[in-house]
């Protein structure tokens, strides 16, 4: 069996950035395994612009952003194998994969970077009554059919979920000649960026129904109509508020879940909140030599941070291979108040550089106080304006501050109202 220094699972934004970074940090034997026919991941189907503002100071289309990393990986002679499926990963880092050229291959990896991305929640995840007609798609699947394959998925469309993918697809379907009748959102606020609400819905007079959900899908062979109803504060449909839309297509944009079946097979400990791996500030999981980054770690809204995490995972994987990383337990960082989670979840005393914490808040807030508490004392605080759950927040811990911590600390967010 061949041995490889660093095996990266997934050739999307996170995986490419991780591989490039590992190479630049002195690791030669790197193998990237990608199941699709080309690298670049989900960006290849995100043909709209707005990517790369932080990294390149320009607004690139998704494929352009991906292209830059693919070119870089090629320049560095990184071995990216496409149309390659990982079959299993064992606790001792033996990876079995298959593709048409090599057949089934087992390789022993000294380190593994999990960059498997995320998947969409489906109709099965949201308990939607129907006779299972065709015409119900997740928004991302529809996006792939339209943008990659060039097939339209319907003519009259209703979209459930107002996250950015739902909004982007509302515009995309409209431009391609479909009539988007409505976007429904179960929450009292949209989970998409204001810019997308304006440019994808307002521009094309597409109504957004907040606090509404789908209560039934009519049609036996093909979707014929979708019925919406308003929901109460417990998200239960209110009788008498039903609205029926004659549509042939229902697109679901109802959330993303980190893809971690391989991480679970390896015994990597997952967070019940993010559904991604629990990591320390060096992006190492609970299994030594296994790292996680990007949407597999936590679902992002900005790709620049996916690449940033990938680069860190690659850098620390290189450090692990060359000089080893501390395997001590680490100090937990807990999320409290209006913060729903914080990643990384563990700090180790060896942190000799700044550590960026990623967190999300639970509800929109005009003004909020963000604090780091340690042994009941506030060791850091800042006030932030205009926070929304759709946009991930960040906080940088300086090494001087980390040096003062001796055990568990808390990231707490308090709503200061208007």
């Amino acid at each position: 069996m061949n041995t490889i220094d660093c095996l990266v699972i997934g050739g999307g934004s996170a995986g490419l950035a991780a591989a490039i970074s590992a190479k630049e940090n002195g690791i030669d034997q790197i193998l990237v395994l990608e199941k699709e026919s080309e690298a670049g991941g989900i960006l290849q189907q995100c043909i709209h612009n707005g990517f790369g503002l932080h990294t390149f100071k320009e607004e690139l289309a998704g494929p352009e952003y991906a292209h830059r990393y693919i070119v870089k990986a090629n320049e560095l002679h990184i071995d990216v194998r496409v149309e390659t499926t990982v079959l299993s990963v064992s606790e001792d880092k033996v990876v079995r994969y298959s593709n048409a050229k090599e057949g089934i291959v087992s390789v022993k990896a000294k380190s593994i970077i999990l960059a498997t991305g995320c998947r969409e929640r489906t109709a099965g995840n949201i308990l939607m009554p129907s006779k299972r007609p065709t015409g119900v798609w997740t928004a991302g699947t529809a996006q792939k059919y339209v943008n990659i394959d060039g097939y339209m998925v319907g003519k009259r469309v209703l979209i459930l979920g107002s996250g950015d993918i739902g909004l982007i697809m509302a515009r995309r379907m409209t431009l391609e000649g479909a009539k988007v009748e409505a976007v429904a959102e179960i929450m009292p606020y949209s989970n998409g960026l204001t810019r997308n609400i304006v440019q994808c819905l307002h521009d094309y007079d597409i109504p957004l129904y907040l606090s509404h959900t789908v209560i039934s899908v009519e049609g036996k062979e093909r979707v014929e109509a979708v019925v919406l109803a308003e929901v109460d504060e417990y998200k239960q449909p209110i009788k008498g508020t039903e609205k029926r839309f004659e549509v042939d297509t229902l697109l679901l944009s109802v959330g993303l879940i980190p893809e971690n079946t391989m991480a679970e097979d390896m015994g990597v400990e997952l967070s019940p909140i993010t559904k991604g791996a629990i990591i320390d500030h060096q992006y190492q999981c609970s299994v030594e030599g296994v790292f996680a980054c990007g949407n597999a770690l936590l679902v992002h809204d900005v790709v620049d941070y996916v690449s940033e995490q990938g680069a860190l995972a690659g850098k620390f994987a290189a450090k692990y291979l060359k000089e080893g990383l501390t395997q001590e337990k680490g100090m937990p960082i807990l999320a409290q108040g209006e913060a729903s989670f914080v990643v990384p979840q563990l700090l180790k005393t060896t942190a000799d550089e700044s550590v960026k914490l990623y967190y999300r808040i639970k509800q929109p807030m005009k003004k909020a106080k963000v604090m780091i508490k340690h042994q009941g004392e506030i060791v850091f605080e800042q006030v932030k304006n205009h926070l929304v759950p759709a946009e991930m927040e960040q906080l940088v811990l300086k090494p001087e501050l980390i040096a003062k911590l001796s055990d568990e600390c808390v990231l707490e967010v308090i709503n200061l109202g208007n």
Binding site: I47, A61, E64, T194
Partner: protein, 124 residues
């Protein structure tokens, strides 16, 4: 005089703007900063958007090539432009940045490729 209401999208604050238009005179209110004034004025005088889509590829390793307008285009012309895009096809190979449609609908703006497409070498 006409009044238009809109949400400013320049930053996350999302000011609710009221824009009064009287001929070429434009008055913006509700904005908390100058950028909101610029946005509101542009939106009523000549709203522009970036346009992205795909065109058909012949002989490529993928069936579509994604494209983008090099600059923002007039919002009112977008559906005309989509008609042009729908009737355009290109032959592989395509490189990122190649002009796919020049001066689309006499807007002075080129539509360029946002991905590369290789020649399909699996065909015999």
């Amino acid at each position: 005089m006409e009044t238009k209401e809109m949400i400013c999208i320049v930053c996350p604050v999302g000011c609710r703007l009221k824009v009064d238009v009287d001929g070429s005179k434009v008055e913006v209110s509700g904005n908390k900063c100058m950028r909101g004034k610029v946005y509101g004025t542009q939106e009523v005088l000549e709203p522009k958007r970036m346009l992205t889509s795909t065109v058909k590829v012949v002989g490529g390793n993928v069936p579509r090539c994604s494209i983008i307008s090099r600059n923002p285009v007039p919002k009112g012309k977008i559906f005309d432009m989509m008609n042009v895009i729908r009737n355009t096809q290109v032959s592989a190979p395509v490189s990122v940045g190649d002009v796919i449609i020049s001066n689309i609908c006499d807007s002075g703006v080129d539509m360029v490729a946002t991905r590369s497409v290789d020649v399909d070498d699996r065909r015999t």
